[in-house]
């Protein structure tokens, strides 16, 4: 794990803004030759934005990037590759139907005299690269026939073929077995000893000890600090990742659950979620916390009947129910506010009113005809109740602001008389004012109307502010449960990251 002192990459004062959000603020960062530099941060801390700037996918607003002593403006992914930077995305960037060899030298195939691809040379060159990463596969095998670990090796071989001296790896071990992970670490150490630097993004704190020279923590778009791995113990890292200045006041008194409203037993969706068991009570707000990919949305989708269940039972109000499709869930009184309202929450070309009444149309139906007047009246009432800002109920919902669109989705489920609401990232991407309103609506729904909310959220202050109970998920299972009122962000993160309690200094 040697590294010479000359930085191969320096990032100075880089900032990046997207409409409505400051993703990076004056970030400083440097990587030395042959160094394995870990990058840590919560969802939305700015890690992937920074990496996308380095790989040429985004352009920075401010600041300097200095590569091997020369300031550069990275103009495009290709330019970034020419500068020696190679990025391996979590979801790989491969043409699955092409062969290993074709992928590795995509765009730089050796040509014969007549301009066709020189297959022999192609395989020779690829064979060399595969040996460097220790991958045994046949260069003529199709990429989609390989295992995930093998495909990852192909990506690394591709990076080496591009003469990369800085390789960025985004969550490289998320799909690997223990043994494959060790293999990967070997390769990374090998790269390092050959002078190739690696930026290693991961949520798995335990891994960083095994492969890492220094670690940098980002939070809310800023660099919190950089430590040599020897000085980075878990409590310190977690505190750096999570610590916020103000602790937002609890929005409501903690509610002690009484009547059981939903019980999940041993729910399994093979390879994704489970076994998961938990109970929800009347009037409760439960949060499903955890990192991206921990299985929260998959759990909600399985309960709502969108994805198939491979095992487990669902009890509503004490009675077992069979939920095979969303219809069953809606009939059982469950509502699901999806993470992406554009994709699956709203019919954008329909009016506000028609979106609100969509699940409840049979209420307005008599003799196969809809009573349009009473439908309109009900929609109007709903719009007022939720303070949805729209010039008229007939306004196409596409033209509403994000916050108001979200309220339309909530209004929709309220009208459908849902008793149990799954809310997947309900305040993501909406302004602070609307966020506050959504929170109040959630509290009103539970405390006053006796409904139950199960909220998936990556926004820890939001989780702490609202929840009666917090279930933290990790790798598809519930890693821990915390009572809402006493929980701290650190505790949530500890469960989310899988940091064993003994290793916490306190």
């Amino acid at each position: 794990m040697e590294s010479s002192d000359a930085p191969v990459l320096e990032v100075r004062g880089v900032s990046k803004r997207f409409p409505g959000v400051q993703a990076l603020t004056k970030v400083d960062f440097d990587v030395r030759r042959g160094e394995i530099h870990a990058l840590l941060g919560e969802n939305g801390a700015g890690k992937s934005t920074l990496m996308k700037i380095l790989s040429g996918a985004y352009s920075k607003d401010d600041g300097e990037i200095i590569i091997r002593g020369q300031p550069v403006e990275i103009r495009s992914p290709r330019h970034s590759q020419e500068l020696g930077i190679s990025i391996i995305y979590q979801t790989f960037n491969q043409a699955r139907h092409l062969t290993v060899a074709e992928n590795i030298l995509l765009g730089r195939e050796p040509l014969t005299r007549w301009g066709t691809i020189d297959r022999q040379k192609l395989h020779e060159q690829v064979r060399e690269l595969l040996d460097k990463v220790g991958l045994d596969a046949d260069p003529r095998a199709r990429v989609m026939d390989l295992s995930v670990a093998q495909r990852q090796m192909v990506e690394i071989a591709k990076a080496l073929g591009l003469d990369a001296n800085l390789i960025i790896m985004d969550e490289p071990t998320s799909a690997l077995t223990g043994r494959e992970t060790q293999r990967l670490f070997q390769i990374i150490h090998d790269l390092s000893s050959r002078g190739v630097s690696v930026i290693y993004i991961s949520h798995r704190l335990e891994e960083l000890k095994e492969v890492g020279d220094r670690v940098t923590v980002l939070r809310d778009g800023r660099r919190v600090g950089t430590l040599p791995i020897g000085q980075a113990d878990f409590p310190t890292l977690v505190r750096m990742m999570v610590g916020r200045d103000l602790k937002l006041t609890m929005l409501t008194d903690r509610h002690v659950g009484s009547k059981e409203v939903l019980r999940i037993e041993n729910l399994v969706r093979r390879g994704v979620v489970g076994p998961v068991s938990f109970v929800a009570h009347e009037g409760e707000i439960i949060s499903l916390a955890g990192l991206v990919g921990s299985g929260r949305t998959s759990l909600a989708r399985a309960i709502f009947g969108v994805d198939r269940l491979d095992g487990g039972q669902i009890y509503i109000g004490g009675h077992q129910v069979r939920i095979r499709k969303p219809q069953d869930a809606v009939r059982a009184g469950i509502g699901f506010l999806t993470e992406d309202r554009l994709v699956s929450g709203l019919a954008m070309s329909l009016s506000v009113a028609h979106n609100i009444t969509l699940p409840s149309l049979s209420k307005f139906e008599r003799l196969l005809m809809l009573n349009l007047e009473s439908e309109r009246e009900a929609a109007g009432k709903s719009i007022k109740q939720f303070s949805i800002a729209t010039p008229s109920p007939d306004q196409t919902v596409r033209y509403l602001s994000g916050g108001n669109q979200q309220k339309v989705v909530l209004a929709k489920w309220m009208m459908a008389n849902s008793r149990i609401l799954f809310l997947d990232e309900p305040t993501q991407g909406i302004d602070v004012g609307a966020k506050e309103e959504v929170h109040r609506l959630m509290v009103d729904f539970t405390r006053r109307l006796g409904g139950t909310v199960i909220m998936i959220s990556s926004d820890l202050p939001e989780v702490l502010r609202l929840s009666d109970r917090i279930l933290v998920m990790r790798d598809g299972r519930i890693a821990g449960e915390l009572p809402g009122i006493e929980a701290t962000q650190e505790q949530v993160m500890n469960y989310a990251l899988g940091v064993a309690e003994e290793s916490l200094a306190g």
Partner: protein, 333 residues
């Protein structure tokens, strides 16, 4: 979030102005204005165009396309497409004709024609809704199947012996003035309007076209409604086939050629988006009338028949172009 301020009470003149602007921004209204403009242009070329006799003739000429286009409208609004329209029409006419050949009275022939259309539509619906085959492919397959069946059962020979009284559907006149096809067209469009605006089927047609996933997640049985939509479309084709059969006095296995494209043209010229989720049924009627008017007008003017196709093709493109312009202005203004 800013709320729109209450408008002051409008004066009569500004009401007319707003009415006109409303017609301009409203899909069907706009197309109706364009249709009227087209009629004025033709009448300036020849006095025979704008006679009640000729205008009624236009509605008869438009009837088959217009009625089949009702089903096509629903399918397109649901973000699908129906390429089997022409072939199913042919199959309906020949089966209906062959049944009447065996001595069955006209009402049976009517029923059979509708049934054949409905069944073919139902098969389309199952293929799209349950088997999840993309509508383009599903109806393309049905196009071949229906046409093939029509040729097989007739061995390629048209059937002429329809039941007595059957051709009233295509050639009769109510009170000696209003053609039967015209009445049927009006009734069908009113029914379609009722369905699309006042029933769950209609509402779900729009929501499925706008976002099938969100509709499913709202607890709607999207599969069932897709089957229904395509079945209704098939019934529309069946009904249109009766009119065609009545007009020609025969069942033609090669009939309905190109009808699918004509119905799509009518829908599209009415301003309905091919991507689904929105659309006005009366705009389709205007679209069908525009195409029929164009043919009729060019005929009366003595334009060479083949040039008509060129002109109609150009008209479709410009009508859609103008409609897109209208939409973008509505958003920004």
């Amino acid at each position: 979030m800013e709320e729109k301020l209450a408008q002051p009470a409008p004066s009569p003149l500004s009401r007319i102005g707003r009415g006109l602007r409303g017609a301009l921004t409203h899909q069907a209204g706009f197309m109706a204005l364009m249709l009227a403009a087209m009629w004025l242009v033709f009448s300036s070329f020849t006095p025979y165009f704008l006679t009640s006799r000729n205008l009624l003739q236009i509605t008869v000429q438009a009837a088959v396309v217009a009625i089949a286009a009702v089903g096509q409208t629903m399918v397109i609004v649901s973000a699908g497409i129906d390429l089997s329209v022409g072939s199913v029409l042919a199959l309906s006419t020949v089966v209906s004709a062959m049944v009447m050949e065996t001595g069955q009275p006209a009402p049976v022939g009517v029923l059979v024609g509708l049934l054949v259309g409905g069944i073919c539509g139902w098969v389309n619906g199952i293929t799209v809704g349950k088997l999840r085959v993309p509508p383009f492919i599903a109806t393309l397959g049905m196009m071949g199947i229906a046409r093939g069946l029509a040729l097989v059962v007739t061995q390629g020979i048209p059937r002429f012996r329809l039941a007595p009284g059957f051709d009233t559907i295509g050639q009769g006149r109510i009170l000696d003035v209003v053609p039967v096809p015209t009445i049927i067209t009006i009734v069908v469009y009113l029914l379609a309007w009722l369905i699309l605006t006042r029933t769950r089927l209609g509402r779900y047609t729009y929501s499925i076209g706008s976002n099938a996933e969100a509709t499913k997640l709202s607890g709607v049985n999207v599969t069932r409604y897709l089957v229904l939509i395509y079945t209704v479309a098939g019934l529309c084709v069946g009904l249109a086939s009766l009119i065609e059969e009545g007009r020609l006095g025969s069942g033609q296995p090669a009939g309905g050629d190109g009808l699918e494209l004509q119905t799509i043209a009518a829908v599209v010229m009415g301003g309905t988006s091919l991507f689904g989720g929105e659309g006005n049924i009366f705009a389709t009627l205007v679209g069908a009338l525009m195409i029929a008017s164009l043919r009729n007008g060019l005929n009366v003017m003595g334009v060479y028949a083949f040039w008509q196709n060129v002109i109609i093709g150009a008209l479709i493109i410009s009508a859609v172009y103008v409609d897109q312009w209208r939409r973008s202005h509505r958003i920004t203004s």
